[in-house]
């Protein structure tokens, strides 16, 4: 069986919200499928080969770190685009999503060219969007839960990952959130999104197995599923209300 390689990109800069939880959970879940998986931590100073790895993950960083990463990652612009077009898996969470649009209109540093992989413009606001998020994902029945804490917004895009039930989409008042293109999954949800949404992770693993011709085995539900259910029980008594 093919050995699967996960790349945690800019792990030491884009790591503000327990991002390590995503790669650890992903690794564990792939191993439970009897897949031989290796995890690679890559950052500034490494030569990143976007053909070498099968799953790329990047998380949230401070605004300063986001721009430090942009200075470095921009040299891989073409390779990243090719990798996405070739169906490599990308999970991009929090403000690292800003890097994949055409440009970032910053609050205090003017316009900065971004990777220009997708046709969206990011605008940094002088306020922060902070709060609980509750979404649907069209390919599973279970809702998506999570948290956002950002000062940037995507102006418009046509291929959303999630639909907003409550919370914030691309920008305030948007009812759509995130980017879904081939196997690129991008969202402003931050932190351990995969751990908190085990059913979404199931979907991701199934897609991954399908892409790599690996027989998918049904998963034994662990405490992460109970945590998910308990969160819904405690905080959502219907599809729109948050109970605190």
């Amino acid at each position: 069986m093919k050995k699967i390689k996960i790349a945690h990109l800019y792990y030491d800069l884009m790591n503000l919200y327990g991002e390590n939880g995503n790669v650890r959970y992903l690794l564990d879940r792939l191993e439970k499928q009897n897949i031989d998986v290796s995890l690679y931590f890559l950052s500034i100073g490494d030569k990143i080969d976007f053909d070498k790895y099968d799953f790329y993950y990047m998380g949230t960083g401070s605004e300063e770190n986001k721009l430090i990463v942009l200075e470095d990652i921009i040299k891989y612009k073409k390779q990243i685009k090719t990798a996405i077009l070739n169906g490599k898996f990308f999970l991009v969470t929090g403000n690292s999503l800003d890097l994949f649009g055409k440009r970032i209109e910053t609050y205090d540093k003017g316009n900065i060219e971004a990777l220009d992989i997708f046709d969206y413009i990011v605008k940094e606001e002088d306020f922060r969007i902070v709060g609980e998020q509750y979404y649907t994902f069209p390919f599973i029945d279970e809702k998506i839960i999570g948290f956002q804490n950002r000062n940037s917004a995507i102006m418009e895009y046509n291929h959303p990952l999630f639909k907003v039930i409550s919370g914030t989409g691309y920008k305030p008042q948007s009812l759509e959130e995130g980017i879904l293109e081939k196997h690129f999954y991008g969202t402003y949800l931050l932190g351990p999104l995969l751990v908190r949404n085990p059913y979404f992770t199931d979907y991701l693993i199934k897609e991954f197995c399908r892409e790599y011709d690996i027989q998918y085995k049904n998963n034994i539900e662990d405490s992460s599923y109970k945590a998910y259910q308990m969160y819904l029980n405690n905080f959502y008594n219907n599809d729109k209300t948050i109970n605190n």
Binding site: G21, D28, E64, I68, V130, N149, A227
Partner: protein
């Protein structure tokens, strides 16, 4: 409106609060600052010679307590926010209550523990004479955003004449040493037996040189990004500090600051930091080494943290641990790890924060729970409505699953701890659960009697 009227109103409301048995440390300031919209009132006060602020993500309360202890012991007339309310409303209440009718501050020293985001509000125009910065780390991100935002807010409060007393072990804080031309007094802690070269979790807030963006090389870490670092291009470094701690001996409660033998009132690293920062500040403003030693070593200040109780003849230490702050958890975990004998731990929470209703759980993955993978740990009882989230996190920390016990009904906790575990007990819980557990212990004691 005139300052004198505001001072009278503030004092009057404080008296009324006290009459009704309320603490009254924030409410009068709220009336003045928010309701009467006197946002500039603090700019109209005539301040004393010493206006000292202590800020940072953690350790500011203990540092302030110790500075007050040293200065008071040395004859200074100090007014400080000893109840720990540290925002602009509390500062307004305290300052106006300690002014005469002309708006002149009545004490020789104003000493304030300050919320790092509120510092710029308290010291908008009138800047402090001395600022102690303990550290800037990820803390309450729903309120604070990221550490860079906090740092930028601290910068806004610094005036041309503000003397800076900074923890140079924190590279983020140490940026102040080259961003400002002010007098800058640095302190730090040398390598200890708990220092390490690599953490099991990469939850470091500051890893790159602020000048050239090269990754910092660390000679050692104390915790988080706090340690001894140098930029490979020599653009930035911790370097030598003016007040350096050496020979940390937790067992004997002793440290050396610049070769002076100093007492430590708690056997944890954060106590080392608050001791050296208070020492540095007080020495800088004129307290001699001999008088510092007398104040710290002779008239010992008791430690506030870590209340000790007893349960069924077993020692029970309550470590208040701040949610949304991985380094607060780290210090509790390190404290537990350094204790001898078998240990039982109680862990969990019902609410992430008492300031807001958000339930961002991401910080759980930044806490190095891997330190609990230790043969001295007998059992870990997991409580609260996020117990399955905590359990999931612990299941990734290489801890034997048999040691993890979920408590669905909190009323069962004491019975289960007595029945199913051995050793000293440590609670590592936040504000809400501390009160619950104390009540359970008291109920248990009452039942016995």
């Amino acid at each position: 409106m005139k300052v004198s009227i505001m001072i009278i109103i503030n004092k009057l409301i404080t008296k009324i609060c006290k009459l009704f048995g309320k603490n009254g440390s924030v409410y009068p300031g709220y009336i003045i600052y928010d309701v009467l919209r006197q946002k500039k009132i603090l700019e109209k006060i005539k301040y004393p010679k010493y206006v000292i602020a202590v800020t940072g993500s953690s350790g500011k309360g203990s540092t302030t307590d110790l500075i007050n202890h040293i200065l008071t012991d040395n004859g200074y007339d100090v007014c400080y926010n000893k109840n720990g309310s540290n925002g602009v409303l509390a500062a307004t209440t305290l300052i106006l209550n300690n002014c005469n009718i002309k708006g002149e501050f009545k004490h020789q020293v104003l000493l304030l523990e300050c919320d790092e985001r509120h510092l710029k509000l308290i010291f908008g125009k009138n800047k402090m004479t001395h600022l102690v910065v303990t550290n800037v780390t990820r803390d309450q991100p729903a309120r604070n955003g990221d550490p860079d935002i906090v740092f930028q807010d601290i910068i806004k409060a610094i005036g041309d004449d503000t003397k800076l007393i900074i923890n140079a072990d924190d590279p983020l804080v140490n940026r102040l040493s080259y961003l400002f031309k002010n007098d800058c007094i640095t302190y730090g802690v040398g390598k200890t037996s708990d220092s390490y070269l690599k953490s099991s979790i990469e939850a470091v807030d500051y890893a790159y040189c602020p000048r050239c963006h090269a990754k910092l090389d660390y000679l050692y870490y104390h915790y988080g990004h706090i340690g001894n670092y140098i930029c490979p291009n020599k653009d930035f470094r911790r370097g030598d500090v003016m007040y350096e701690v050496k020979d940390v001996d937790f067992l004997k409660h002793r440290i050396k600051i610049n070769d002076e033998d100093i007492y430590l009132n708690k056997d944890v690293l954060y106590a080392v930091y608050y001791t050296v920062s208070a020492y540095a500040l007080c020495n800088y403003i004129g307290v001699s080494k001999e008088d510092l030693k007398k104040a710290i070593n002779g008239d010992k200040l008791s430690s506030k943290r870590g209340k000790v109780r007893e349960l069924d003849g077993r020692k029970l230490t309550m470590l208040e641990t701040k949610n949304e702050n991985n380094l607060s958890y780290y210090q509790s975990l390190r404290f537990i790890k350094n204790q001898t004998g078998k240990k039982t731990i109680i862990l969990g929470f019902d609410n992430v924060s008492r300031r807001y209703q958000f339930n961002d759980l991401s910080w759980l993955w930044d806490v190095e729970f891997e330190l609990l993978n230790d043969k001295t740990i007998d059992k870990i009882f997991i409580i609260g409505r996020f117990r399955y989230d905590v359990l999931t996190r612990l299941s990734f920390a290489n801890i034997d699953n048999n040691k993890l016990i979920l408590i669905d009904d909190l009323n069962e906790l004491i019975k289960r701890v007595k029945q199913d575990s051995v050793g000293d007990i440590y609670t590592m819980v936040c504000f809400d659960m501390t009160a619950n557990i104390l009540k359970l212990i008291e109920d248990d004691e009452n039942e016995k009697n």
